[in-house]
Structure formats: C-alpha cells, structure tokens
Symmetry: C3
Subunit: 661 residues, 3 copies
C-alpha cells in the first residue's frame, strides 16, 4: 500500500521542481510517474535528443527519495514525425486520416510508427533503464483511448490479411467458417478481403469480429515490442500499462499477459456521466460515483495483474472531459483511495500533482490548484498517507493477496460480438456484467473477476454474464470446480466463428445444461415481462421483471430441468440442472439480488443485505466499509476494539477499517 | 390461394435437399423461390459457370412436385466483378463509394453493371427458361433496400443530364420551370448540372425532385432490362419482383407496369419497430404487428399487380434486422397468412425454409430451426395449408378478384416532394396515407389503393391523402366518378415542377373546390388546435384536434362553401363543395373516423364500428375476421352455419372465415 | 422611422414592376432593397454584363418616389464562376468542398473569390454609385449564414498561418502562449500548423479559438473590401450589412465598425423554433415569438450602428426554414414593427414584397401572396405606415437616440470560447446573456447592449453575463463608471490565450472583487442546487435554484466579501464587494429577477414588475407598451390624454404609445 502521483516537470519552470519533490515526499507520496507525453521535449527535432532537462528532473525526484515510474512517450508522436511519415495517422471509418493536434494520432499497424516507436523506446530505455531512481516503467498511455484501436488504413488491411491467413490457412476454410456463401460474399483469395467498413448494409459479423480480434492483437503486439525493449535495458524494473475504466476495445488479458503490473485510471465521476447509467442514477451518485463502479474495475485489473494492481491515475477533484463535471464530495478522494487498497491495490497514484493552466486538460483538477495551493484532494491524499501507516501497523496483513469465494467471468470478445451482432439494440455487455457484479456486491460478497480460461477450482460460486462463445472445455472446468454456476442468457449461443451452434444454444454447455434454446426475442426499453418464481408466495403478482431479452427454452428439454421461475406466458425464465443455473433473461436488480442470494446459500456462501450505498470488502485480516450515501450507517457485529480506522458510526463518505471476525 | 417458401440449397449439404423438398411438399407448400443471392456459386470466377449444383437443386424440387420461382442473382454481385469494375459501387451522399461486403452494392446507372447484369440474366434465363419445374421468375431482390436507389456517381450524373434534356429539351425551359433565377442558380447548359448534394444549404427543390424521379426511372429501366431478357427465354412464365413494405424510394407503379406479379415482403413486427409509430404503439402491438399495416401493403400491391399479388416473404418468427426483435404471438403467422389471402393474395411464401446458422441473418427465424426441427411458424403454415383446402372447398369463390367501393389514392412522388420540401419537419406522407387507410378499416371498409391516374368510376368514396401534385384531368375524373371525395390538406398545393400554382392551392382542383388556400402553417408536435363541428352537440368543448398542419382557406371563397368544421380561432377546418370534402388539417384518429363515417354514409356506403383490434375483409362470397387483440371478440350477425373456419367466438390472434350475408 | 421592403424584380415579369412600385408607395413604403442575389442576371456569362433590366427596375422604383438600397450580389456566385474557379467553394470539416446549388458557396479566404468579388462590386458600384434613386448600399447578404464562416481549405490554412505570424511573431511565442508542450503538440515553424480539425480527440483550445478569431477577421476583411469599393464610387450613401438574429460566428462589432448602418433580419417565429428554448416555451410563444428576443437583437445592433440601426428583413407571415413554421397571430407584424422603432430603429423593411412561387423559399410569406393580393402582413404594414405619421406628429421626439441607464456587456469571443472549452455541455453563452437581458426587461428596464471595450460612464447598472476573457483595463473602467456591476459566473476565468489566470479566476478582476475561484463544477440538466439568501425570510426552503454551473469561492477570500447568498452546502453563491456583485452560478429566472431588482434599487434605478407577456420601452418623450399575451393588460399610471396610439386597455398583440411621465 503506497501513494503515487503523476507529474509533468516539462510543464513548469525548473525552479519549482525541488519544492514540488519536497512537498510530494512530505505529503506521503512515494512514486512519481513522468514523461509519457514528452516526446517533443525529448526529441525536439528528428534525431536531436535533449536529455538534459529530463536527467535533472529525475535527479531532483530521486534526491527527494521518490521512485520514478518512467514512461515511453509514444502516445504523442511529435509533428515533425507525422510530417515525415503521414502514414502514421490512423484512418477513420470515413476513410479519412485522423489528424495531428491532440494525442494518440497513430495507427498500431503502421510500419513507420512501429519503427519510430522502437527507436524512441530504445533511446529512453537505454538512457534511464538503470537509473537508480527509475523503479518502474509504463508503456505508452491509455492504449485505445479516443477510439484508436481500429484503423482502416492500407497498412491495417495488409496486416489483417496476414492475420487471416495465419488463422484460416486457406481461403476455403475462411469461406466455410464465415459462411460467405450467404449473399455471394465468397472470396477467392485473402488478397480480396478488405476491412469490414462502409458496406451498403451491415458487414458480415464473422468478418467484423475477426477485424476486432485482429486490431486487438495489434495492440498486444505493439505493447509487447515496448516491453521487450524495456526489459532488455532495465532489468528488474516492473513494467506497467495504465488501462482505462471499463475499456473494452481490445482484449486486456492478452496485453496484461506481457506486463508485470496491470494498472488503471480511475475517474469515478467522469465514468458515471459517460457510461450507460440512466439520468436519475447519474443524479443519485453525482458527486460520489456509483458504489460498484471503481470496485468492478479494481477486481477486473487485479485479476490480470501479476504483481498487485495499481490505480495509476486517481481522480483528485473535478475532471474536464465528461459532458458535465461535478466536484467530488469532501471525503470521496480518501474513500476512493481506500477502496482501491481494500480491493488489493499496491499503489494509488493521483492524477496529477498540479492542475495545468493551459491546453486541453486545464480544467482537470490536481492535488494542487494552478496557483500551487494544496487542493481538497491533496489534503485527503495526505490523510490517506497517514492512515496507511496506521493500517500497516495494525498487524492486519494489510498487503495480503485477495482470493474470493465468488468468481465472475468477464470477457472482451463478448462485448465485441454483441455489439456487432446485437439482435436487441441495447444489449450492452459491460452493463450486464456490471449489473451481475453489483448484485453480488449488494450481498457483501468479494468477487474475483476472471477470464473464461481461468482456473475455477476453489470457487464456491461462479457467475457468468451473457457469454456467447464458450471454450470447448468450459463445461468440464465448471463442473469440476464444484461451484454453483449461474449462466446469463445467450451464454453458449455462438461458435467462435460467430455461428449458431449445431445443437442450438447453449451449444457446448448442453452437456451440463440440457436446455435447447429454440427461439429468442429482444425487448424494447418500454417493454418488460413478469416473472414468477416456482415457489412464489404471491398469488397473482409477479416476483420481478424480465428486461431486454428472452431465451425460449424447449419444453421437452425443460422437462428434465428444474424450472425455478417462469415468464408470465409460461415459458421457463430460470432453470436449474444440478449446480448449473440458467437465467433466460436479464432480471430487474431486486430479483437478480434475490436469486443470487438463494444460489449463494446453496453454494454455502454467507451473504449480507447491504443498502445500496454501503459496501464491504475484505483483505487479509481486515474488513473495509465504505459509505457512499448521505446518511450515517451503523456497523453492527463489529467489536468496538476491532476498529483500525473509523468507528461503528460510518458517516456519509466515510471509511472504516476493522479486524474481521 | 397457395403457400410457398424461400429456399437456399447452396447453404446446406446436398444430402439434405431431398428431405427438404419432401417435407415442404408434405407441409402443403407448392412453390419454392431460389437463387437470388447465388451469383458467386453460379459464376465463381469471371466467365466460369457452375450450373451443376443448381441443376440438381431444381431437379430435386421439381421431382418433389414443387414449382420453382427462379431469381436473377443481381442483388449480390461477387467480389471479382467489383474488383474488375469498381465503378459498379454506388456513391453515397458523402461522395464515397459504398463498399463490397454485404449486398446491393451496385449503382443502377453504372454501364458496367448494366452490361454484367444483362450477361448473367441471359445466362440464367437461357439455362432455366424452359425448365419444366421453373414456373415463375423474380427479378433481383428488394430493389432499393438499404437506401440504394440514389447514387451520386459520375455515371448517375451523366444519365441525369440526359434525363433532364429529354424532359425539358432546352436549358432555358429548365431554368424557367425550376425558377433558378432565385439565388443565381441559373444554368447555361445541361452539362453544368450536378447532383443536388453537398450544397451549403438545401438544394433547389425542383432539382431534388427531378433527381428522385430520375433515380426512380433508373430502377424501372434496370428491371425492364431483366424482364425482357426473361420473357425472351422463358415464355409464359409470370415475372415478379419482391417489393418491400411501405417502401417509397422509387415509383412502384412504374416498375410493376413491367411485371406480371407484384409481390411484397411482409414483416409485421420488424415494420412496427422500424416505422414511425410512437413507443407506446410499438409496445401495444409488440408481438402481433399493427392491425392495419400488412393490410395496407396488401392493398397497395394488389392494386399494381396484373395477376393476383403475392407475399413473397412472410415473417415466420422473430427477425434479426429491427432495433428490437420480439417473437410473434402463437397464431400470428397463421393470421398474417389468412389476412393476405383475404386481401386477394395468390400466394403466401414464407421466408425462409430453415434459419441459416451463419452470416448476417443468422438470427432470422425460418419455418424450421437451424437444427432442422419444425418451428412454431412451420406448424402454423401447415395449419394454413389444411385450412386453404377447407376454404377452397367451401364454394365461397375464394380466389375471386377484389373490387372495393372505396378507393384511396396513393402516390410515390408525394412522399419525395414532402420530404424535400416539408415546411413541417414531421410531414411524413406514408404515415398520413396510412392513418386515412386505418380510419377506413376501423369502419370495416375494404379499400382499393390506387394511383392518381387510375380509373375512378365505380367507386362510391375516394379518399385522397395529402397529394401535392394532381394531374390536369384529376378534378374531372373525380367529378365524373360520382363518388364522394375526401381531399387531405396540401392537396393540389404544387405544380409538377414544384411551384405554387398560379391560383394558389388547391390549384387545378379549384374548379371543383373553390377554396383558395392563402396561407399555411405547420405545427410542432406539442401543439394542437381544437376543431368544432358546425353541428356540434357540445357547447364549448372541441370535437377533436388538428395536428401537424393547417391550410388557411380564404374567407371570401369559403362563403361559397359549406363550412362543416372550424378551428378554435374560427378559420375553416373542413369545407364541402358538392361531393368534394376538403380537410384543412390532419385530425386526430377519432375525429377522422367520425368524419369518414359521415361521408361514407353520404356516399351510401355501409360502415361498421370495429374496435382497434378487430378487422374484417371480404373476398368472393366469404368474409374474413381477424382478432389482433388480447380478448375474445364475439362476432354477431353471422349465422352459426355460415362459418367455414372458426366460430362466433373469435379468440385472441384468431381467424374466422364465414359466408357473407 | 420609415418602412422598407425587399424586392426581386428579376423574379417577376417586367410588366408588373410599375404596379408594384406604385402599390409600395401607396402602402407607405419608402425604401426598397434589391439585387443581392442577382449576379447571374447581371453577368450571365463571364465578363458579359446585362445592365438593361436592372437599369429599368431602378428607374421604375425611383420614378415612383422610392429610395433604393442597392446590394452587391456576392452571396450567390454563378455556376460559371465556380466552374472556372472551384477553389471558391468552402471546404467543410469533413474535408469535402461544399457544392454549388444553393447560396453562400464561397470561402472568405479564397484569393479567386476575393478578386472576383472586387470585380463585380466595382462594376455594380461604378454603374449605380451616383444613381439618384440609389440612397443606400448593402454588402453581400447575411454573412456567415449556413455555417459559412469557417472553411478548412488550403487557402484558409495559408492565411491562418500569416495571421498567427502577425499575432505571435515567433513560433516560440506561440508555443508558450498556447502551452503546446502539453501532449507534445509543439511546432517548429508556423508552416507546421494546420486547421484544428479532424483530430483524434479535441484539438487544442487555444488553437481552436485562434482559428475562430482568424475566420472572423476574414469576414471583416472581406466586408471592408466591399465597403471601400462602394465608398469610392458612391460617396455619401450609407453602407449597411444585414446581420442575422443572434448570430455569433464572427465578431459583429469588428464588421460593423466598417459600416454606417448595422441592420439585422428579424424572424421572431423562426428564431423561437430554432433557438435553445424548451418545447413548452416554444409552444407558449408559438405565434408571437418570445417577448424579449427581437428586443435583444434590436439592442445588440443599435449598439454597433453608427446611424440608427435598421431591421433589413422583417418577418411578414409564416417562413419556410424552421423545423415548424406557424403563422403569426393577427397584429404581430404591426407589434414587431413598432417594437423595432421603440428600440431605436431608423427603418423596418419587410421581407419580401411578394411571396415567390418557386425555388427554396417559395413557402416564405411576403406582404403579398403569390397571386398578388395584399396579405395580412401587408395590411399591418399599411397600418404601421399610418401610425408612423401619427407618432411623428406627436411632438414626442420620436426619432430620438436612445441611451439607457443599464448596460449589458455582450461579447462574441465568449461564445466561441465556451463552445470550444465548455466544461459543461450546455454552457451556451447567448442563452445566458439573453436570460440576463430578459430579467432586466421583466423589470421594465431599457438596456444598452455594449461591447467589452465600450465606454461605461453614465450607466447606473452594468450587467456582465459570463465573460471569460476581460481586458486589462476592464476592472478600472467598471470601477470608474460608478455603476453597480453584476458579474456572471466564469467571468475573468481565462486569459486571451485560453489559459487559467495565474491568480485563478476572476483573474484581472481580482483587484475589485477579491474572490479566488479555486474550483468549479458543471451540473447536468437534471441537477440543481438550492440557494438561500443571507437575509432569507424562509426558515428552511430555498429561495431559488442554481443551475448549470458553480464557482467555488475561496472561504478565506470570502471572509472579506459580503456573502449575500449561499448554496445548500454552504459555499457562497452570491458575493458583493463594494459595487461589484458576483454570481457564482446561473440562477433560475425568478431569483435572477429578484436579485437584479435589488441591485437596481441599490443603483438608484427604478424598476417595474411586468408580467411575462408585457414589455415597455422608452424612446424620446414616448413610452411604448407591447402585449405578447392572450389577455388584455390594463396600463396604469398613464394619463388618458397621454396616448398617441392605443389606450389603457392593451389588447392581446396590442401596441400603445404614450407620452412618458
């Protein structure tokens, strides 16, 4: 558990650097990320490097006892490089280059940029790889931000063709796999295949999904190149990348596999505004963020990080980039920080040390205001630094690794597939995964978020949000785990080539859940369907509502299943076969929590009934409680002397840490 | 009355074909449409034809006693053809080619594609034109789908200039007709005229309407080329095209004039979701479709078909292409089928035999599921096949032609003109035509939908939704018919060159309706205006509401008119002159029904008062009743022994057929 | 005070001209604007001028005793010119030329067009500059209409680079001013700088604001070229341009500085529909327009006009260009006309004499219908002409200049800056300026709208809507004026280079208002914050609501301020320091009026409490009262014999003119 900060010495007079470093250290900050946007200062003209300022900046930080997270500066190629190699610019879906003048104006498939990146990364890694103050590395910055994973350039298409060749070997195999016979879309050679863009109506879904997979692999390849250069020149220093909150445009598991630290950038208020939440939900959590949103991301990135994950950028106050940008309530910066540690974070690093008074992000708060006074977020960071010392001294095994009883299977291709092939316009995978996660958290459960190929042994409950493509061994691994398994609708509904399984959904899961899905329907937002539990206590009223989607389960197959709930028209809504529970729709929040509670009980997992604003996490021997609401919450079942931080009365925006019973 | 199905042997192993054909026949299917998307299998490489598989498929179908509807495969030119002739691709309004990778990626004006189409049509027609199993033909597939009527290619512009020359002869005549003096848009030669696209503000409305007319004529020319080739090689076989539901981007009358059969593709649930209906209406008819939507299309296409019209594609279950895709209620596939026959259909052909498990439409249901089990729709089709035998045996003259007492004038240019020149943003012609149609149907009336140049003799009531351009002889033909005539607002408001008539609206109709329209106003959606009938029974409350539009009728002219209703501010809302009734606005549904009922009575036409979910049609000596609602409807005034199908108690989603009194 | 009309002799047979001129004169019209779209008739082919028709048209008008407002025809370059110089077409943000076929298809930076404009303006000015009937000139027509201020052409970029060189002199100065070090956006020479368009994420705000300033300066330069040519050839004739209502895409003060008359085109109903007003507000004022909208524009353009401003185009009936186009209530054309005179107009000129029956604007009403009968608007114009005579004869100093006690500071760059750099998505500057104006008008106050560099002496109250950039001397000038000063939120929040001031907001105003703004937040539309006045009479209820935005005022600084209101969470909402009043948010209408009333009282300015539909203006010795509502309003405090027009009972849509007490 430690604090960090993001710092841009190149934005400030050199005369301020020493004082900045001193004040960081005094505040309790231990690591400082630098230089991820500094290419034009490192190499102001082609081949002319200016290391002096950066040498001095690192020396100042090191002299103050701070550890540096050194970045490669590839997120912002300078103008002279673009002018020399215009093919670096990514090509949009409209066929036009995306221009210089902001950031991330590069195409992952551009050979010119790959070469230029190798050169600058090598230069930086050679110079600082063994510098004593440089303790960690970050590759690039926020891969994919601003919709930059996909490019439709000739370079991308050329590499896509190679990617397809490697995957399918023959063009006949591709035609067969995709089913190009439909609409005479058959290809005679890989060289006939273009990017799936600008077609008259929707392009072929298999073509589109492969293009997404290809583009994701390009990100992994580009990151791997950087990691290899860094490792060659900077042995022993962990390499991180800062992923984005709930970002899904590439497969993060594949990129994280090459890293030591998966870190992410946490902006709870900006996320609330920009994500799918309804306007009333956005107003409800306006200045605190949704109680489960940062948690979900913590659990996502913890799962893919070899070392403890970090929050590389923590929102310290209002940001600039959402449609509307409210100010966090007092105490929220502290709460968010502790929530990260409670979920296993090794470091929480604030973005940024001081608000920049110019350029695109000048309205983004820092720990200090532009006139260099400590801001509210800075004061709260100082409080957290103090509290870390208290917690570390509590013998609570505060830095313990986390392993939960509950696993939630989370997948990136699922997002792409449902986006490409929605069948219902609002079938938004991350939302549904989040809603399942949120229901588990409302029951006080700690959750591991895992990929579909993760080992599942040791879990008591495995929850699978809608997962269209399941691996061949998934049923076996689930069954062997001994866990109770909840499967969301549409699970097993597609093959990896985006086809309907020969035996219909749930396809490869039919061996454990013999429920032939013979029909589906998507429901518009103003339509719901009542759901009645088989053991309902209510004579005529529905126990809950189905929304968005319905799988129709064959009634013959259903005869061998335990039908635990039905839709108003009699079709099965929730069926069970042994330890496998299949939800044929997306239920409202209350019903989802109620069903998860029942299944958790069957799994032997103890649950709580938390209000929507209180959340509990456990790490090591300590329990962490957080109050996102407006009213004081009284913690019961905790001994008075168990508190390390806080007390029974958990104030609004309050944090308590106590020894678990 | 017979059933058909759409079938894609190229999607399935040849080993399945015989069983498919046998099961089709056993189900009661008589005709099978094939090959409309099979170009890449018929001609896998330039000039290399592979007829073998298609020969065998047709033989298998023929051997099973099925009749084949053979299609030209021009809706999906293969990749090799596009690569050889990139000018085949249509050019979008953004100036970019619309790419290969889905379907309909061709420009109707492309000389390359015209030539390639001639070649492939000739090849197919030569090979199968006299095949004994081939009984019918279909040209291409769904002309214009995915916004493909308009292209902005150099080829289209070149042909547009020729089209203009033929229409106006001299550039001075064009400048005069359009009024290009406005804003100095005058042309010195036809070669100066471009497509009306990408202009700084709206392009000239006369220019735009002529471009729409031109593009429509291009579709007719392209279809005519195919029909002529087919007729030359396949004498005696009727030629059809499958139009789309309420599709209006080209003049269907002109295309149908070259065909024997006008057929259309009926997807009641997809249409409900995609058309203009308000969200609550979409929820109300979610799984049945709107009670008047399929009917309206039946009556539209019946009117332009030389032989009895067909439903070439009938929705058999959920589809894949709407924003949300609900499942039809049990019974709806049967109801939709009978409704088509009740409106005069010769054939109802289901789309498709078996759901394809791959490519863009894999979520589109068929009569069979992808694992080859008969689906709900398949069972209902079998029931319809049985019932057809019963009805044909009833001596009810079931295949009789239909001729109604009521005609509704329906026009394509009206749609384009109001779209180009709306004056009120929501003045959506097909919606208003549909609302008039629906009001007539609520009165139990059978309706002929006719073009503006149709003979009108024999009708008792002629209803004209807003029709901006009326032919010179329209007033005379209407007057001679002896019918009561209802004219919607904006009727006669423009000349064919998109000008205001010299005498102001209703222009050429002033001879029969001397109502000078000196001003108009459009009303935003949250504004209505009360309407009071001249003989209102209510002292102060409005009898109904005017919406969207108001024509202001000159008070001097109005003095010679019978003012039957006024707006709240005193302006005439409904005036009558002899048999001519002019509505100065679009009234709410209830008021529209009430006025139509009164005028029908004046026309000597008997009406019923049907609930919004029950509909009645008459064909031959039989009456057909349909229940779209959730409650049983009791049919009165029918003798118990009159029922051929069903009974007095018309269940939800139920059908009854009985001998008319 | 006089009336005018816009007339297009080229649209009508020459045989009608004399009668038109005679009827204009008889109606009371004194001036006629012509020829602004007539280039293709003046020069039908390159270099071939046809002056005959225009000579005769001017002679006819002059002979009837009418004064001509002669226009340059540059808003509509003819097709032959575009074909010769395709670089005239502006380039859109999508990189594509905006095509010929409507109007304003020219790039202000195109050298070809600049040269062609010089040529045609010289030709017109030479021919008619000394014609006795030509009394005034208009340059071009509605600069910037249809989003034509900005172009992204190579010509524009080349001129932008020159503009930047002139502004910054060295590239280092530009890099420093903008802060391009952020995201490595540094430039090595001016030639590396492109237009800020098509970037991956938002382009640099300083870059964007400079591009807007540059584009605005291009308009001024283009207009100045025309004015100089006219003045050289037509000495003594005032030169006008017709600006658009609330148009903000260029700095109107800079363009008006080169003119004699600032005129504007008033379409109250079209504006209501197209501007930001909520749907219920649009319905409320559907057929009258918003009571403060035309007034606001009158006051804007009065302030920048050397001679009395004009309404160059007055809506005479329904227009064609809004989404919906209602008809004005009877009396509104008269009311609008008198409102213009009440605000200081020298002329009200109706658009147009007769509705054109062809082309894009055929549904735009005129004083006469297309069949040449006087329309309602024409009759009301005749009434106004009569009433002008009465008013002029009243010894009320009717043509007096207006100078108000209250000034509202209105700025164009503020609009651009908040649009480029919003921080809250709905921070729409013209709306907020209008709401302040409207609150002042509800208090019965006459308002001068002035630029930020206007002399402020003599005002009692100065209201400053959110003004991000303030001149260095603004604080001093405000303080010296002796006025009470209201500053909206975000005032002083940016430097001219779009940076946060070193001392934080209010930046250069801190000398008079020592209120350090250390944080801001924007609020989404479904969020408000209660506001309590320091002297609130209510125990627990809020006195009003804050919306959209909050400035957080440093509590230490606030200690030296008079905190007159607080937000519900205790932060200051309204602080006062001497004569300076700072609003930290945008309050609801009622609270804004209440606070303005209190401050006006402190400023010694007498206020009224007007209902939302009655408005009062004063000019010379006369007071003008207008009733926008549906109910008769009784004027009190007016002697019976004081009325020049009207009486105490001010009917709906009524006008009264009376001698001020």
């Amino acid at each position: 558990m430690r604090l960090g900060v993001c710092y841009y010495p190149e934005h400030w007079p050199e005369s301020m650097w020493e004082d900045d470093a001193r004040r960081m250290k005094a505040l309790g900050i231990e690591q400082v990320r630098i230089a991820e946007f500094a290419w034009s200062r490192i190499e102001p003209a082609p081949g002319e490097y200016d290391w002096g300022w950066l040498d001095r900046a690192i020396d100042v930080l090191g002299a103050a006892g701070l550890k540096v997270v050194m970045c490669t500066p590839t997120a912002t190629p300078p103008k002279w490089l673009i002018d020399r190699h215009p093919d670096i610019l990514p090509i949009g879906a409209d066929g036009r280059p995306r221009a210089f003048g902001s950031r991330r104006h590069y195409d992952f498939s551009s050979p010119s940029y790959f070469e230029a990146s190798q050169r600058i990364c090598t230069a930086v890694a050679e110079r600082y790889g063994r510098h004593p103050a440089v303790a960690y590395w970050q590759t690039d910055n926020e891969f994919g931000c601003h919709h930059t994973v996909l490019s439709y350039s000739p370079a991308a298409v050329a590499r896509f063709r190679e990617w397809l060749k490697a995957r399918y070997r023959t063009i006949d195999a591709l035609n067969d796999a995709w089913g190009t016979v439909f609409w005479s879309m058959e290809y005679r050679s890989f060289d006939e295949i273009d990017a799936p863009v600008a077609t008259v109506t929707e392009a072929h879904p298999s073509h589109r999904l492969d293009y997404r997979r290809f583009a994701s692999d390009e990100v992994a390849r580009y990151n791997r190149m950087q990691v290899e250069i860094i490792r060659a020149h900077s042995p022993g220093r962990p390499v991180a990348h800062n992923f984005m909150q709930l970002f899904t445009e590439f497969d993060h598991y594949k990129v994280a596999a090459d890293l030591d630290v998966a870190s992410w950038d946490s902006y709870p208020l900006g996320a609330l505004e920009e994500q799918w939440f309804a306007p009333d939900v956005k107003a409800r959590w306006l200045r605190s963020g949704h109680p489960d949103f940062a948690s979900f991301n913590h659990d996502v990135y913890r799962g893919m990080s070899k070392l403890p994950f970090w929050v590389m950028e923590q929102q310290p106050g209002p940001v600039n980039w959402a449609m509307w940008n409210p100010a966090p309530l007092p105490g929220m910066v502290r709460l968010w920080s502790w929530e990260a540690f409670a979920h296993g974070a090794g470091c929480v690093s604030y973005f940024r040390w001081r608000q920049a008074p110019f350029a695109q992000e000048q309205m983004h708060a820092g720990l200090n205001t532009p006139d260099n006074r400590l801001d509210v977020g800075g004061n709260e960071a100082a409080q957290v630094a103090d509290e870390i010392r208290t917690v570390l001294a509590s013998n609570g095994d505060a830095n313990a690794a986390i392993r939960s009883k509950v696993a939630l299977v989370y997948d990136y291709e699922a997002k792409w597939l449902f986006e490409i092939h929605p069948q219902g316009a609002d079938f938004h995978y991350p939302r549904f995964a989040f809603e399942y996660y949120s229901a588990l958290r409302a029951l006080g459960l700690d959750v591991d978020v895992v990929p579909v190929d993760a080992p599942l042994d040791g879990y008591s409950l495995v929850v699978v949000p809608p997962l269209p493509v399941v691996p061949d061994d998934f049923a076996v691994r689930l069954a062997r785990s001994g866990a109770q398994v909840v499967l969301g609708p549409r699970t097993g509904s597609k093959t990896r080539d985006v086809r309907i399984p020969t035996n219909l959904p749930p396809g490869a899961l039919a061996s454990v859940l013999p429920a032939r899905i013979w029909r589906v329907e998507s429901m518009r937002p103003n339509v719901t369907e009542g759901v009645r539990l088989a053991d309902s206590q209510q004579a005529s009223v529905a126990d809950g509502l189905a929304r968005h989607w319905r799988d129709f389960i064959d009634s013959d197959a259903a005869a061998s299943l335990d039908v635990r709930a039905r839709f108003a028209d009699g079709h099965p809504a929730y069926v069970r076969s042994g330890a496998f529970h299949y939800f044929a729709s997306l239920f409202d929040d209350a019903l989802t929590v109620r069903l998860f509670e029942r299944i958790a009980r069957e799994a032997g997992v103890t649950t709580l009934q938390l209000s929507d604003s209180v959340r509990i996490s456990r790490r090591g021997a300590l329990t962490y409680a957080f109050n996102y609401g407006d009213d004081t919450h009284t913690l019961t079942d905790v001994a008075d002397d168990a508190f390390v931080i806080g007390s029974r009365a958990l104030a609004p925006q309050g944090v308590a840490v106590y020894r678990s019973r």
